[in-house]
Subunit: 202 residues, 2 copies
Protein backbone atom coordinates (compact mmCIF):
# COMPACT_ATOMS: atom_id res chain seq x y z
CA UNK A 1 0.00 0.00 0.00
CA UNK A 2 1.06 3.62 -0.33
CA UNK A 3 2.95 5.47 2.36
CA UNK A 4 -0.29 7.15 3.41
CA UNK A 5 -2.24 4.88 5.76
CA UNK A 6 -5.64 3.83 4.41
CA UNK A 7 -6.43 1.06 6.88
CA UNK A 8 -5.56 -0.04 10.38
CA UNK A 9 -2.24 -1.84 10.96
CA UNK A 10 -4.14 -5.11 11.64
CA UNK A 11 -5.31 -5.34 8.03
CA UNK A 12 -1.86 -4.54 6.65
CA UNK A 13 -0.35 -7.20 8.88
CA UNK A 14 -2.90 -9.76 7.66
CA UNK A 15 -1.98 -8.90 4.06
CA UNK A 16 1.76 -9.17 4.79
CA UNK A 17 1.34 -12.61 6.36
CA UNK A 18 -0.99 -13.88 3.62
CA UNK A 19 1.65 -12.83 1.06
CA UNK A 20 4.00 -15.40 2.61
CA UNK A 21 1.62 -18.29 1.92
CA UNK A 22 2.89 -20.27 -1.09
CA UNK A 23 0.66 -19.57 -4.09
CA UNK A 24 -0.11 -16.02 -2.96
CA UNK A 25 1.96 -12.91 -3.71
CA UNK A 26 1.66 -9.31 -2.49
CA UNK A 27 -1.11 -8.54 -4.98
CA UNK A 28 -3.18 -11.69 -4.51
CA UNK A 29 -2.71 -11.41 -0.73
CA UNK A 30 -4.56 -8.08 -0.81
CA UNK A 31 -7.33 -9.66 -2.86
CA UNK A 32 -7.44 -12.64 -0.48
CA UNK A 33 -7.57 -10.40 2.62
CA UNK A 34 -10.47 -8.39 1.20
CA UNK A 35 -12.33 -11.57 0.26
CA UNK A 36 -11.77 -13.03 3.73
CA UNK A 37 -13.02 -9.86 5.41
CA UNK A 38 -16.09 -9.69 3.17
CA UNK A 39 -16.89 -13.36 3.74
CA UNK A 40 -16.34 -13.04 7.47
CA UNK A 41 -18.98 -15.54 8.60
CA UNK A 42 -18.49 -18.10 5.82
CA UNK A 43 -14.70 -18.03 5.50
CA UNK A 44 -12.66 -15.78 7.82
CA UNK A 45 -14.10 -17.10 11.10
CA UNK A 46 -13.96 -20.82 10.14
CA UNK A 47 -10.46 -20.46 8.65
CA UNK A 48 -9.23 -18.60 11.71
CA UNK A 49 -10.64 -21.39 13.91
CA UNK A 50 -9.14 -24.13 11.71
CA UNK A 51 -5.72 -22.47 11.95
CA UNK A 52 -6.03 -22.17 15.69
CA UNK A 53 -6.85 -25.88 15.89
CA UNK A 54 -3.90 -26.72 13.65
CA UNK A 55 -1.58 -24.67 15.89
CA UNK A 56 -2.78 -26.61 18.93
CA UNK A 57 -3.20 -30.12 17.60
CA UNK A 58 -0.93 -30.81 14.63
CA UNK A 59 2.24 -32.71 15.42
CA UNK A 60 4.90 -34.74 13.64
CA UNK A 61 4.51 -38.53 13.97
CA UNK A 62 7.40 -39.83 16.06
CA UNK A 63 7.44 -43.07 14.08
CA UNK A 64 7.27 -42.06 10.41
CA UNK A 65 7.56 -38.25 10.32
CA UNK A 66 4.07 -37.72 8.84
CA UNK A 67 2.09 -34.66 9.93
CA UNK A 68 -1.13 -35.41 11.79
CA UNK A 69 -3.20 -34.57 14.84
CA UNK A 70 -2.37 -37.94 16.40
CA UNK A 71 1.01 -39.46 17.33
CA UNK A 72 1.53 -42.20 16.13
CA UNK A 73 -0.27 -40.90 13.04
CA UNK A 74 -3.36 -42.23 11.27
CA UNK A 75 -1.22 -44.07 8.72
CA UNK A 76 1.00 -45.76 11.31
CA UNK A 77 -2.00 -46.98 13.36
CA UNK A 78 -4.21 -48.04 10.42
CA UNK A 79 -4.64 -51.83 10.89
CA UNK A 80 -5.66 -52.33 7.23
CA UNK A 81 -2.24 -51.25 5.98
CA UNK A 82 0.53 -53.67 5.13
CA UNK A 83 3.11 -53.04 7.85
CA UNK A 84 5.75 -55.17 6.13
CA UNK A 85 6.30 -52.53 3.41
CA UNK A 86 7.77 -49.10 4.16
CA UNK A 87 7.69 -46.42 1.45
CA UNK A 88 10.51 -43.90 2.00
CA UNK A 89 9.74 -40.34 0.88
CA UNK A 90 11.59 -37.03 1.12
CA UNK A 91 8.69 -34.93 2.30
CA UNK A 92 5.13 -35.16 3.68
CA UNK A 93 3.88 -33.72 0.38
CA UNK A 94 5.30 -36.80 -1.39
CA UNK A 95 3.48 -39.06 1.10
CA UNK A 96 0.22 -37.30 0.23
CA UNK A 97 0.95 -37.60 -3.51
CA UNK A 98 1.59 -41.35 -3.21
CA UNK A 99 -1.61 -41.78 -1.18
CA UNK A 100 -3.59 -40.05 -3.94
CA UNK A 101 -2.39 -42.72 -6.38
CA UNK A 102 -3.86 -45.32 -3.95
CA UNK A 103 -1.62 -47.93 -5.59
CA UNK A 104 -0.01 -49.41 -2.49
CA UNK A 105 -1.41 -49.69 1.03
CA UNK A 106 1.77 -49.55 3.06
CA UNK A 107 3.37 -47.52 5.81
CA UNK A 108 5.70 -44.59 5.19
CA UNK A 109 8.92 -43.03 6.36
CA UNK A 110 9.50 -39.30 5.83
CA UNK A 111 13.20 -38.44 5.51
CA UNK A 112 12.78 -34.69 5.86
CA UNK A 113 14.92 -33.93 2.80
CA UNK A 114 17.80 -35.44 0.87
CA UNK A 115 21.50 -35.78 1.48
CA UNK A 116 23.16 -32.71 0.02
CA UNK A 117 26.86 -32.23 0.79
CA UNK A 118 26.84 -28.82 -0.92
CA UNK A 119 24.11 -27.56 1.43
CA UNK A 120 25.74 -29.26 4.41
CA UNK A 121 22.91 -31.77 4.84
CA UNK A 122 24.32 -35.09 6.08
CA UNK A 123 22.71 -38.35 7.28
CA UNK A 124 22.24 -36.95 10.80
CA UNK A 125 20.00 -34.18 9.48
CA UNK A 126 17.58 -36.73 8.06
CA UNK A 127 15.62 -39.54 9.77
CA UNK A 128 17.75 -42.30 8.25
CA UNK A 129 18.83 -43.73 11.63
CA UNK A 130 15.18 -44.00 12.60
CA UNK A 131 14.42 -45.85 9.35
CA UNK A 132 17.24 -48.31 9.98
CA UNK A 133 15.91 -48.85 13.50
CA UNK A 134 12.41 -49.55 12.15
CA UNK A 135 13.80 -52.14 9.74
CA UNK A 136 16.03 -53.64 12.48
CA UNK A 137 12.95 -54.21 14.65
CA UNK A 138 11.90 -56.87 12.14
CA UNK A 139 8.68 -57.55 10.24
CA UNK A 140 9.67 -55.34 7.32
CA UNK A 141 10.11 -57.28 4.07
CA UNK A 142 10.35 -54.41 1.58
CA UNK A 143 11.59 -50.81 1.62
CA UNK A 144 10.42 -48.81 -1.42
CA UNK A 145 12.66 -45.78 -2.07
CA UNK A 146 10.19 -43.26 -3.46
CA UNK A 147 12.64 -40.34 -3.51
CA UNK A 148 12.70 -37.79 -6.30
CA UNK A 149 14.58 -38.67 -9.48
CA UNK A 150 17.11 -35.89 -8.84
CA UNK A 151 20.86 -36.23 -8.20
CA UNK A 152 20.40 -35.60 -4.45
CA UNK A 153 17.45 -37.99 -4.33
CA UNK A 154 19.42 -40.76 -6.02
CA UNK A 155 22.46 -40.14 -3.79
CA UNK A 156 20.20 -40.52 -0.77
CA UNK A 157 18.71 -43.71 -2.22
CA UNK A 158 22.17 -45.23 -2.67
CA UNK A 159 23.18 -44.28 0.86
CA UNK A 160 20.01 -45.83 2.36
CA UNK A 161 20.51 -49.00 0.28
CA UNK A 162 24.01 -49.34 1.75
CA UNK A 163 22.73 -48.82 5.29
CA UNK A 164 20.05 -51.50 4.79
CA UNK A 165 22.37 -54.02 3.11
CA UNK A 166 22.68 -56.25 6.20
CA UNK A 167 18.95 -56.70 6.65
CA UNK A 168 16.73 -59.17 4.86
CA UNK A 169 14.27 -56.52 3.67
CA UNK A 170 14.24 -56.08 -0.11
CA UNK A 171 15.09 -52.50 -1.19
CA UNK A 172 13.23 -51.34 -4.31
CA UNK A 173 12.78 -48.01 -6.10
CA UNK A 174 10.10 -46.42 -8.29
CA UNK A 175 10.18 -47.36 -11.99
CA UNK A 176 11.52 -44.82 -14.46
CA UNK A 177 9.60 -44.45 -17.71
CA UNK A 178 7.17 -42.47 -19.83
CA UNK A 179 4.60 -40.60 -17.67
CA UNK A 180 1.03 -41.81 -18.27
CA UNK A 181 -0.44 -39.47 -20.90
CA UNK A 182 3.06 -38.26 -21.84
CA UNK A 183 4.21 -37.64 -25.40
CA UNK A 184 7.61 -39.00 -26.43
CA UNK A 185 8.39 -35.88 -28.46
CA UNK A 186 8.38 -33.76 -25.30
CA UNK A 187 10.39 -36.11 -23.09
CA UNK A 188 14.10 -35.83 -22.31
CA UNK A 189 16.52 -38.44 -23.60
CA UNK A 190 17.24 -39.82 -20.13
CA UNK A 191 13.61 -40.73 -19.56
CA UNK A 192 13.23 -42.29 -23.01
CA UNK A 193 16.42 -44.31 -22.53
CA UNK A 194 15.18 -45.53 -19.14
CA UNK A 195 11.78 -46.44 -20.58
CA UNK A 196 13.43 -48.40 -23.41
CA UNK A 197 15.75 -50.21 -21.05
CA UNK A 198 12.88 -51.24 -18.76
CA UNK A 199 10.50 -52.15 -21.59
CA UNK A 200 7.93 -54.80 -20.72
CA UNK A 201 6.00 -57.44 -22.70
CA UNK A 202 2.84 -56.11 -24.36
CA UNK B 1 -6.98 -36.73 -0.65
CA UNK B 2 -7.86 -40.37 -1.23
CA UNK B 3 -10.80 -42.07 0.41
CA UNK B 4 -8.42 -43.66 2.89
CA UNK B 5 -7.71 -41.27 5.76
CA UNK B 6 -4.08 -40.23 6.03
CA UNK B 7 -4.43 -37.30 8.42
CA UNK B 8 -6.78 -36.04 11.11
CA UNK B 9 -9.98 -34.24 10.04
CA UNK B 10 -8.54 -30.93 11.33
CA UNK B 11 -5.89 -30.88 8.59
CA UNK B 12 -8.37 -31.80 5.88
CA UNK B 13 -10.70 -29.04 7.05
CA UNK B 14 -7.83 -26.51 6.97
CA UNK B 15 -7.07 -27.56 3.37
CA UNK B 16 -10.73 -27.31 2.36
CA UNK B 17 -11.02 -23.79 3.77
CA UNK B 18 -7.70 -22.63 2.28
CA UNK B 19 -8.95 -23.85 -1.12
CA UNK B 20 -11.73 -21.23 -0.91
CA UNK B 21 -9.24 -18.34 -0.63
CA UNK B 22 -9.02 -16.54 -3.98
CA UNK B 23 -5.70 -17.37 -5.64
CA UNK B 24 -5.55 -20.85 -4.10
CA UNK B 25 -7.11 -24.01 -5.52
CA UNK B 26 -7.43 -27.55 -4.12
CA UNK B 27 -3.84 -28.42 -5.07
CA UNK B 28 -2.18 -25.21 -3.90
CA UNK B 29 -4.27 -25.30 -0.71
CA UNK B 30 -2.61 -28.61 0.20
CA UNK B 31 0.80 -27.11 -0.48
CA UNK B 32 -0.11 -24.00 1.54
CA UNK B 33 -1.40 -26.08 4.48
CA UNK B 34 1.81 -28.12 4.60
CA UNK B 35 3.93 -24.97 4.43
CA UNK B 36 1.90 -23.33 7.21
CA UNK B 37 2.24 -26.39 9.43
CA UNK B 38 5.98 -26.65 8.80
CA UNK B 39 6.49 -22.93 9.48
CA UNK B 40 4.34 -23.07 12.59
CA UNK B 41 6.25 -20.48 14.63
CA UNK B 42 7.07 -18.08 11.79
CA UNK B 43 3.81 -18.21 9.83
CA UNK B 44 0.93 -20.35 11.13
CA UNK B 45 0.77 -18.86 14.63
CA UNK B 46 1.12 -15.19 13.52
CA UNK B 47 -1.37 -15.67 10.66
CA UNK B 48 -3.85 -17.38 12.93
CA UNK B 49 -3.52 -14.48 15.39
CA UNK B 50 -3.87 -11.88 12.62
CA UNK B 51 -7.05 -13.56 11.39
CA UNK B 52 -8.45 -13.66 14.90
CA UNK B 53 -7.75 -9.93 15.25
CA UNK B 54 -9.38 -9.25 11.89
CA UNK B 55 -12.48 -11.19 12.98
CA UNK B 56 -12.72 -9.08 16.11
CA UNK B 57 -11.71 -5.65 14.94
CA UNK B 58 -12.43 -5.15 11.25
CA UNK B 59 -15.58 -3.25 10.44
CA UNK B 60 -17.14 -1.35 7.56
CA UNK B 61 -16.87 2.44 7.81
CA UNK B 62 -20.39 3.83 8.35
CA UNK B 63 -19.49 6.98 6.40
CA UNK B 64 -17.73 5.77 3.24
CA UNK B 65 -17.99 1.95 3.24
CA UNK B 66 -14.23 1.38 3.47
CA UNK B 67 -12.98 -1.58 5.48
CA UNK B 68 -10.92 -0.70 8.54
CA UNK B 69 -10.43 -1.38 12.22
CA UNK B 70 -11.82 2.07 13.09
CA UNK B 71 -15.22 3.60 12.32
CA UNK B 72 -15.12 6.26 10.89
CA UNK B 73 -12.16 4.83 8.98
CA UNK B 74 -8.57 6.08 8.70
CA UNK B 75 -9.33 7.77 5.36
CA UNK B 76 -12.45 9.58 6.63
CA UNK B 77 -10.66 10.93 9.72
CA UNK B 78 -7.35 11.86 8.03
CA UNK B 79 -7.10 15.66 8.43
CA UNK B 80 -4.57 15.95 5.59
CA UNK B 81 -7.08 14.79 3.00
CA UNK B 82 -9.15 17.14 0.88
CA UNK B 83 -12.68 16.62 2.19
CA UNK B 84 -14.24 18.62 -0.61
CA UNK B 85 -13.58 15.85 -3.16
CA UNK B 86 -15.28 12.45 -2.95
CA UNK B 87 -14.05 9.62 -5.20
CA UNK B 88 -16.86 7.11 -5.83
CA UNK B 89 -15.72 3.50 -6.31
CA UNK B 90 -17.55 0.20 -6.74
CA UNK B 91 -15.50 -1.79 -4.28
CA UNK B 92 -12.92 -1.46 -1.48
CA UNK B 93 -10.35 -3.07 -3.82
CA UNK B 94 -10.80 -0.10 -6.19
CA UNK B 95 -10.23 2.31 -3.28
CA UNK B 96 -6.95 0.55 -2.51
CA UNK B 97 -5.96 0.61 -6.19
CA UNK B 98 -6.60 4.38 -6.40
CA UNK B 99 -4.62 4.96 -3.19
CA UNK B 100 -1.66 3.08 -4.68
CA UNK B 101 -1.62 5.60 -7.54
CA UNK B 102 -1.32 8.35 -4.86
CA UNK B 103 -2.56 10.85 -7.45
CA UNK B 104 -5.38 12.48 -5.48
CA UNK B 105 -5.65 12.97 -1.72
CA UNK B 106 -9.41 12.91 -1.31
CA UNK B 107 -12.09 11.01 0.56
CA UNK B 108 -13.96 8.03 -0.88
CA UNK B 109 -17.38 6.49 -1.17
CA UNK B 110 -17.71 2.74 -1.73
CA UNK B 111 -20.90 1.83 -3.61
CA UNK B 112 -20.75 -1.89 -2.88
CA UNK B 113 -21.30 -2.84 -6.53
CA UNK B 114 -23.01 -1.47 -9.62
CA UNK B 115 -26.60 -1.14 -10.75
CA UNK B 116 -27.47 -4.30 -12.63
CA UNK B 117 -31.15 -4.78 -13.55
CA UNK B 118 -30.43 -8.28 -14.90
CA UNK B 119 -29.03 -9.38 -11.52
CA UNK B 120 -31.79 -7.55 -9.65
CA UNK B 121 -29.42 -4.98 -8.15
CA UNK B 122 -31.18 -1.63 -7.83
CA UNK B 123 -30.23 1.72 -6.23
CA UNK B 124 -31.38 0.53 -2.79
CA UNK B 125 -28.82 -2.30 -2.84
CA UNK B 126 -25.99 0.22 -3.17
CA UNK B 127 -24.94 3.11 -0.92
CA UNK B 128 -26.14 5.77 -3.37
CA UNK B 129 -28.59 7.39 -0.90
CA UNK B 130 -25.73 7.75 1.57
CA UNK B 131 -23.59 9.42 -1.10
CA UNK B 132 -26.36 11.88 -1.93
CA UNK B 133 -26.74 12.63 1.80
CA UNK B 134 -22.99 13.28 2.10
CA UNK B 135 -23.11 15.74 -0.80
CA UNK B 136 -26.29 17.34 0.58
CA UNK B 137 -24.50 18.06 3.86
CA UNK B 138 -22.41 20.60 1.94
CA UNK B 139 -18.67 21.21 1.65
CA UNK B 140 -18.29 18.84 -1.31
CA UNK B 141 -17.21 20.59 -4.51
CA UNK B 142 -16.37 17.58 -6.69
CA UNK B 143 -17.55 14.00 -7.02
CA UNK B 144 -15.19 11.82 -9.12
CA UNK B 145 -16.96 8.76 -10.51
CA UNK B 146 -14.15 6.17 -10.53
CA UNK B 147 -16.38 3.25 -11.52
CA UNK B 148 -15.23 0.55 -13.90
CA UNK B 149 -15.49 1.23 -17.64
CA UNK B 150 -18.09 -1.53 -18.03
CA UNK B 151 -21.71 -1.21 -19.15
CA UNK B 152 -22.98 -1.63 -15.57
CA UNK B 153 -20.35 0.79 -14.27
CA UNK B 154 -21.32 3.46 -16.79
CA UNK B 155 -25.05 2.92 -16.12
CA UNK B 156 -24.36 3.49 -12.44
CA UNK B 157 -22.32 6.61 -13.24
CA UNK B 158 -25.19 8.06 -15.27
CA UNK B 159 -27.70 7.31 -12.50
CA UNK B 160 -25.51 8.98 -9.85
CA UNK B 161 -24.97 12.02 -12.09
CA UNK B 162 -28.76 12.40 -12.33
CA UNK B 163 -29.19 12.08 -8.58
CA UNK B 164 -26.54 14.77 -7.96
CA UNK B 165 -27.83 17.17 -10.66
CA UNK B 166 -29.43 19.56 -8.13
CA UNK B 167 -26.28 20.08 -6.10
CA UNK B 168 -23.46 22.46 -6.83
CA UNK B 169 -20.77 19.77 -6.67
CA UNK B 170 -19.07 19.13 -10.00
CA UNK B 171 -19.42 15.49 -11.17
CA UNK B 172 -16.40 14.17 -13.07
CA UNK B 173 -15.24 10.76 -14.29
CA UNK B 174 -11.89 9.10 -14.97
CA UNK B 175 -10.31 9.83 -18.37
CA UNK B 176 -10.45 7.16 -21.05
CA UNK B 177 -7.29 6.63 -23.06
CA UNK B 178 -4.21 4.57 -23.76
CA UNK B 179 -2.89 2.85 -20.61
CA UNK B 180 0.59 4.04 -19.62
CA UNK B 181 3.03 1.59 -21.20
CA UNK B 182 0.29 0.29 -23.54
CA UNK B 183 0.83 -0.52 -27.20
CA UNK B 184 -1.74 0.75 -29.70
CA UNK B 185 -1.58 -2.49 -31.70
CA UNK B 186 -3.02 -4.44 -28.76
CA UNK B 187 -5.76 -1.98 -27.79
CA UNK B 188 -9.43 -2.26 -28.74
CA UNK B 189 -10.99 0.28 -31.11
CA UNK B 190 -13.14 1.83 -28.39
CA UNK B 191 -10.12 2.81 -26.30
CA UNK B 192 -8.22 4.17 -29.31
CA UNK B 193 -11.27 6.17 -30.40
CA UNK B 194 -11.65 7.59 -26.87
CA UNK B 195 -7.93 8.45 -26.69
CA UNK B 196 -8.13 10.25 -30.06
CA UNK B 197 -11.25 12.16 -29.07
CA UNK B 198 -9.67 13.34 -25.80
CA UNK B 199 -6.25 14.12 -27.33
CA UNK B 200 -4.29 16.84 -25.55
CA UNK B 201 -1.64 19.39 -26.57
CA UNK B 202 1.92 18.02 -26.58
Amino acid sequence: MSSKRIAGPEIERLIQLLAKVPGLGPRSARRAALHLIKKKEQLLIPLSAAMGEAVEKVKVCSTCGNIDTADPCTVCTDPRRDGSTIIVVEDVADLWALERSAALSARYHVLGGTLSPLDGIGPDDLTIDKLVARVAEGGVTEVVLAVNATVDGQTTAHYITDRLADFEARVTRLAHGVPVGGELDYLDEGTIAAALKSRTAF
